[in-house]
């Protein structure tokens, strides 16, 4: 006699391994399809073009050696405001790599590629509107700015000029061989960090990619949220161990209201501060110069407010590096560039200078004069050709910030005043921004 249709004979073996094999195959295929599509998506959004922030004209910059001195490095990081400028040179072929491919590049190629991936904040020369509403503030750690990529079981940190700082195992996704044994090979991450020598810690100031997911096109608000929730989870903030050589740590980020600014400025942190970083909440991560991230400093929160020369001394006159153009005009690295003046035909002829050269000047006692908030005239004194290691001219914001520091610095009180006065104004005329 047969059981009712829906009643399985109780003692029949419950195994239907064939069905199970089919299902497991389907599961495996679905997983691999997901991986493949996932990979396609991530490659898409992390493709960073060599062309877009292409190098400016001028002699091929030589790869800089890894600087030994922290001081020099810190100064260097302020000197080189690269990217974005120069009006797109077509000398380098338009090669596109994603980060994983790029991580396989070696030597000069690799340095060249990685040197162009960091987002470079402008210097704060006036206070942006709506600081408390639209901006974050954090205390920038002193140290070596670097780009940290974890992929294929190894973590590599590269300095701003693209040279390798460390190659080490870490708890970041894909960062060491022991983790994620079964995990996807596509699991990789990219962080924007500052390596702080004293406690041998990577302070993470931004997150570009996490576990294969690109955050390039996400707002800072989201990136910081992601950074804070994911970094600890991964174990990257744990103390160093055999498979995790350096500790990572997130930098505390505050809303830029009165309390937040105060906390970033005076709050105790585990690292030596080097100024304050401001991020616009809506801004995406973009390689090169951006006015949507700003840096500001004074003596209280930084040891390196005024530029030093290569010997670490503060020169009497402020020095700037500008790029010479065909028409002898001298421009900054900004896009579009700002013209600081032009060089006499005589000097050009005498010194054998050519278009594209980077030249060093001192700002003489005549200083800079402005009309309607725009640079009108600069009293420049030609010093000579710039260091061959330099790739770019100074940015406008850097020159102006340094100039202000020497003459009438933007003080913390100015920032605080801007916050409170703007709070008031907001309250009275909520639509004032719209009218603008």
């Amino acid at each position: 006699m047969a059981p009712p249709d829906h009643r399985r004979p109780f003692k029949r073996p419950t195994i239907s391994d064939q069905q199970r094999r089919r299902e497991l195959s389907l599961l495996r295929q679905a997983q691999h399809r997901l991986d493949a599509q996932h990979r396609a998506r991530c490659l898409a959004s992390t493709v960073l073009s060599l062309e877009a922030p292409g190098p400016g004209p001028g002699p091929e910059p030589e790869p800089e050696p890894v600087p030994e001195l922290e001081l020099e490095l810190a100064a260097e990081s302020e000197h080189h405001v690269e990217g974005g400028g120069g009006g797109g040179d077509s000398r380098s072929p338009s090669k596109e790599f994603d980060v994983r491919q790029a991580s396989k590049l070696r030597g000069a190629e690799a340095r060249k590629w990685f040197a162009r991936q960091l987002m470079l904040p402008e210097w704060m020369i006036d206070v942006p509107d709506r600081l408390p509403q639209d901006w974050y503030v954090s205390a920038r750690p002193a140290g070596k700015r670097c780009f940290v990529v974890s992929a294929d079981g190894i973590t590599v940190s590269r300095l701003r000029n693209g040279s390798v700082l460390h190659r080490f195992p870490s708890a970041l996704p894909g960062g060491s061989r022991t983790r994620d044994v079964s995990g996807s090979a596509q699991s990789y991450s990219i962080l924007d960090c500052i390596f702080h020598e004293l406690d041998q810690t990577y302070y993470v100031i931004d997150m570009l990619c996490w576990r294969g997911y690109s955050l390039y096109d996400c707002t800072a608000e989201f990136r910081f949220f992601w950074l804070n929730s994911k970094l600890v989870e991964s174990g990257a903030c744990d103390p160093p161990s055999q498979n995790h050589r350096y500790r990572f740590s997130a930098v505390p980020v505050y809303n830029c209201d009165e309390n937040g600014l105060h906390a970033a400025y005076t709050g105790a942190v585990t690292y030596i501060k080097d100024g304050l970083l401001f991020y616009n909440k809506q801004a995406h991560y973009q390689a090169g110069n951006t006015p949507l991230a700003l840096v500001w400093k004074d003596e209280k929160c930084s040891q390196y407010v005024i530029d030093t020369d290569s010997n670490g001394n503060v020169p009497r006159l402020q020095q700037v590096v500008l790029e010479l153009q065909d028409d002898f005009k001298l421009i900054t690295s900004d896009d579009p560039p700002v013209v600081f003046g032009s060089l006499d035909n005589d000097i050009v002829q005498k010194s054998g200078l050519r278009s594209g050269y980077l030249l060093k000047f001192a700002i003489s006692d005549g200083g800079l004069s402005f009309v309607d908030g725009r640079l009108d005239r600069a009293d420049l004194q030609y010093l000579g050709k710039s260091n061959r290691a330099r790739a770019f001219a100074d940015s406008y914001s850097k020159v102006i910030f340094q100039y202000s520091v020497r003459h009438s610095p933007l003080r913390i009180d100015d920032l605080l005043a801007a916050i409170s006065s703007r709070d008031d104004r907001e309250n009275e005329h909520p639509d004032v921004e719209m009218v603008d």
């Binding site: 006699m1 003692k11 495996r28 399809r33 396609a40 690109s214 096109d217």
Partner: protein, 872 residues
């Protein structure tokens, strides 16, 4: 107008093959040339009492087969043909059929009843045969007609109710049908045949009686008649009445309270004293009550309080009397039961019901069953010992681990001893009980197990001794090992407990698979499937060596199948089955070893030989592609990656064959999956094969014969192909995209009340999205403009899917991913399309709030992609 076809119908049943074939051919020609007259002629033959029984019988069968078929697509064609016949002709046919019900030849009216029901199933939902019910009921009041007309009419009513749904009749019709049926059951003047037909008709009509069951008077009356009928002196009628009760138990659970006392007595008496076929239905009544309560409990726990129907806790209330009643049945084994697992008798039904009761009430069943177990397990009569271990095995699902583990721990030794019992049945059932113990009470990954480092050695020892027992016991022991291994899967360090025994376990399983003392291949199949599970669940670091040794051994066995002597179809089938098992094991080994970098080289080292074996398996079978070999090749392609290219020239023709196998749709489905594997393995190198593959996939989609379950995977496969070949997918776009759009339209019109259809709808939506994802990503780097004309349709489809509030999360995931792909691939070109799509924010918001990390990450990515489009 009807044609005289008696002679042809008789010839079609001739013993002379030539005569028969000729007659069949002319019938077929007639059918093709003039279907309406053909059907009319058949009806005429069927209704004509002057005609020979043989020709009437065949006429009836052909009629039935002209209206219905098992295969859904064939059935649809037949239905359309019937609808296309002109109304006057159809009326004549129906009139003849109805007239046949009054025929004295039982065979004729019985067939006619079935044909009428088939026509009713087409016409009643369309309101095209409104007079049918009235005509039939009129038969019931004709005084001068034979009693067989009432019987035929009731049978027809039953068949009709079985074919149509309860929405197809208005309440008045339902009332008159029920009245006629219930009267047919209850009036003593009716013959037993009429009462039996009426009782069976009621069983089918119960589904229409919702409003009648809501009315207490009507309900009381129906219940009274059914209960009385359950005491009829005719066995068939009693059985039919209990079948009605089973149906009532599941359809009208919520109104049964007042009748439960009566029903308990009725069923209890039947279980104890009635003949087995009636007793089985009485037990089934309780099983159905359990089904209802289990479902209510699951529904309650997932949907919280306000479920409409109340849980009446009938099982809990009846427990003290119900459990002893069921335990009694366990002692009524047949002498030769269990040799065949499909056995269904009173003790099997009783054990099954006991298992359901256990799942319904949980812990309280344990103290009611354990005394029976302890009391019987030592008795000299094997029936007692078998019943005891069967009872124990039956109640392992339901009660908590805390409640069961002390008992099982204390009794495990006893069970292991019973594996040496002198009686085959006792050993067989004990092995099954051990299987259940490991299946249900051994899950270290979830923190509980009755197995420990202390008792495991003896457990394994006994199992390996018993696997050498007679085949039926050995087969059950395989099951026990299967679950023993499964429990250790993902069990962290506990998994290592089993590792030292793996070499022995493998050896004994292979020996068991090689045994020839079993009448059929079940032991062999079980042994190989258990090997599969052991391999799958093993800790790879500790077991890689033993698995690596198993690989050449299994390859060798597969090579030996080519040497088998094949003289009959039966030999061929046996060879194929054995190859299926061995390919299955190879697939599992390939998948296991290619999963880690350390063990993958083992597979690569053997890849050429393995592939050669699979190709030889294919070559053994000319008509079809071997499904298991195909499945294994998918795993191999994944392992070898781009190196798989060298096998393609040889393998490609089998891929084609597989994709063309409409009849065995599983084979086609598996092959479609393998196409995906190959695309991922070969990447751009798959291009030379794509024209052929795409053509076959498109044909598969167009086929009306191919099972629908294969179609979603084909769409996913489009995505796989596109992702592999990138912009060279361009030439397929004008074929593939309209198909995808068409399928999207089908999704839009799908009936959302049908649960099974809904599940299919999810699959289809998911796979359409996957196709778009692959294609968009494939085109992203160049020629993405090819996809521009399709963007807006896709966006509408995404919106439509999003608006379905019940959508499955996997569908959401695919939808949000494809949204990002659309933005990623087409960029600023479709800025306008993304503008003012408020639903996108809702979709992203919903995903970002999900607990599923993967979904959140995908949504984040998509948000970024959309953001990039909008700021551009």
């Amino acid at each position: 107008m009807a044609m005289e076809i008696t002679q042809i119908l008789l010839s079609a049943q001739s013993a002379d093959a030539r005569v028969r074939t000729e007659a069949e051919t002319s019938l077929k020609q007639f059918q093709e040339q003039n279907l309406p007259v053909f059907l009319l002629s058949l009806s005429f033959e069927l209704s004509n009492n002057e005609k020979p029984t043989e020709s009437r019988r065949l006429a009836g069968i052909i009629l039935k087969n002209s209206l219905d078929a098992k295969d859904a697509s064939r059935k649809n064609i037949l239905v359309q043909q019937w609808i296309g016949i002109e109304i006057a002709m159809k009326s004549q046919i129906k009139e003849l059929l109805l007239r046949t019900l009054a025929s004295s030849a039982q065979e004729a009216w019985h067939t006619s009843a079935q044909v009428i029901a088939k026509i009713a199933s087409i016409e009643i939902p369309q309101k095209q045969w409104p007079e049918l019910i009235a005509t039939l009921l009129n038969n019931m009041t004709q005084r001068d007609q034979p009693s067989s007309l009432k019987q035929a009419t009731l049978e027809t009513l039953g068949f009709v109710c079985e074919e149509i749904s309860d929405q197809d009749l208005v309440q008045d019709e339902v009332n008159t049908v029920l009245t006629a049926v219930v009267q047919g059951m209850s009036l003593a003047e009716h013959s037993p045949e009429v009462r039996l037909a009426a009782t069976r008709a009621l069983c089918n009509a119960l589904g229409f009686a919702h409003s009648n069951f809501e009315n207490e008077m009507e309900r009381n009356y129906i219940m009274k008649v059914v209960c009385e009928t359950a005491l009829s002196k005719e066995v068939d009628i009693r059985k039919a009445a209990f079948e009605c009760l089973v149906s009532i138990a599941s359809t009208y659970y919520e109104v049964l309270e007042p009748y439960m006392q009566t029903l308990f007595e009725l069923t209890s008496n039947a279980v104890k004293g009635d003949v087995e076929e009636v007793a089985l239905q009485a037990v089934e009544f309780w099983s159905s009550i359990c089904d209802e309560e289990i479902e209510l409990q699951e529904f309650e726990s997932s949907e919280s309080a306000d479920s409409g129907s109340p849980h009446s806790r009938f099982i809990e209330k009846a427990l003290p009397a119900l459990v002893p009643m069921l335990l009694e049945t366990l002692l009524k084994q047949e002498e030769d039961q269990d040799q065949d697992d499909s056995t269904w008798n009173i003790s099997m039904a009783g054990g099954t019901c006991l298992g359901l009761v256990s799942r319904t009430v949980g812990d309280p069943i344990v103290p009611l069953v354990m005394p029976f177990v302890e009391d019987n397990i030592r008795k000299p009569d094997w029936h007692s010992r078998e019943a005891a271990t069967y009872a124990l095995g039956s109640i392992l699902d339901g009660p908590t681990f805390e409640k069961l583990s002390p008992l099982v721990n204390a009794g495990l030794d006893f069970l292991l001893n019973l594996m040496k019992d002198e009686n085959n049945h006792v050993r067989d059932t004990t092995a099954w009980t051990l299987t259940r113990v490991f299946e249900l009470l051994h899950s270290p990954a979830n923190g509980f197990s009755v197995l420990s480092p202390e008792n495991l050695p003896r457990v394994v020892k006994v199992l390996l001794e018993s696997i050498q027992d007679v085949p039926n016991v050995a087969e059950k022991v395989c099951g026990a090992i299967y679950y023993l291994a499964q429990g250790f899967e993902d069990a962290g360090t506990s998994a290592s407990l089993l590792s030292p025994y793996l070499p022995d376990i493998m050896t004994y399983l292979v020996v068991a698979a090689d045994r020839t003392d079993s009448g059929d291949s079940k032991l062999r199949t079980s042994a190989y499937e258990t090997i599969n599970e052991v391999v799958r669940c093993a800790n790879i670091a500790e077991a890689s060596q033993i698995i690596a040794q198993l690989l050449p051994a299994i390859m060798n066995k597969l090579a030996q199948t080519f040497e088998l002597q094949i003289v009959s179809l039966d030999d061929r089938e046996k060879q194929s089955d054995l190859q299926a098992s061995l390919c299955g094991v190879l697939q599992v080994i390939i998948q296991k070893l290619s999963n880690t970098d350390e063990t993958k080289p083992i597979i690569l080292q053997y890849a050429d030989q393995i592939m050669l074996l699979f190709l030889r398996v294919f070559a053994c079978h000319s008509s079809t592609v071997h499904e298991e070999a195909m499945l294994a090749i998918g795993a191999l392609a994944y392992a070898t990656g781009a190196d798989f290219l060298k096998y393609m020239p040889e393998f490609y023709k089998y891929l084609e064959m597989g994709l063309q196998n409409f009849e065995e749709y599983q084979v086609c489905a598996v092959t479609v999956g393998v196409v995906g594997d190959i695309c991922r393995a070969l990447d751009g190198k798959v291009l030379p094969f794509c024209d052929g593959i795409m053509e076959l996939l498109l044909n598969d989609l167009r086929s009306e014969v191919l099972h629908r379950s294969v179609k979603p995977p084909i769409f996913s496969c489009f995505g796989d192909v596109a992702l592999a070949v990138g912009d060279r997918f361009e030439k397929y776009v004008s074929y593939a995209l309209p198909m995808m759009q068409g399928a999207a339209e089908i999704c839009a019109q799908m009936d959302t009340d049908d649960e099974e259809l809904m599940e299919y709808g999810y699959q289809l939506k998911r796979s359409i999205f996957e196709a778009y994802s692959g294609i968009l990503q494939g085109f992203k780097d160049s020629k993405s403009e090819v996809m521009l004309p399709y963007a807006s349709h896709l966006m509408q489809f995404i919106e439509l899917v999003f608006k379905d509030r019940q959508r499955d999360e996997s569908v959401t995931k695919a939808a949000v991913a494809v949204t990002g792909d659309l933005a990623d691939a087409l960029g600023p070109n479709i800025k306008l399309l993304f503008k003012d799509r408020a639903f996108l924010n809702d979709l992203l918001g919903e995903c970002l709030q999900s607990d599923d990390e993967q979904l959140k990450e995908t949504a984040t990515w998509t948000q970024g992609m959309i953001g990039r489009v909008m700021v551009s």
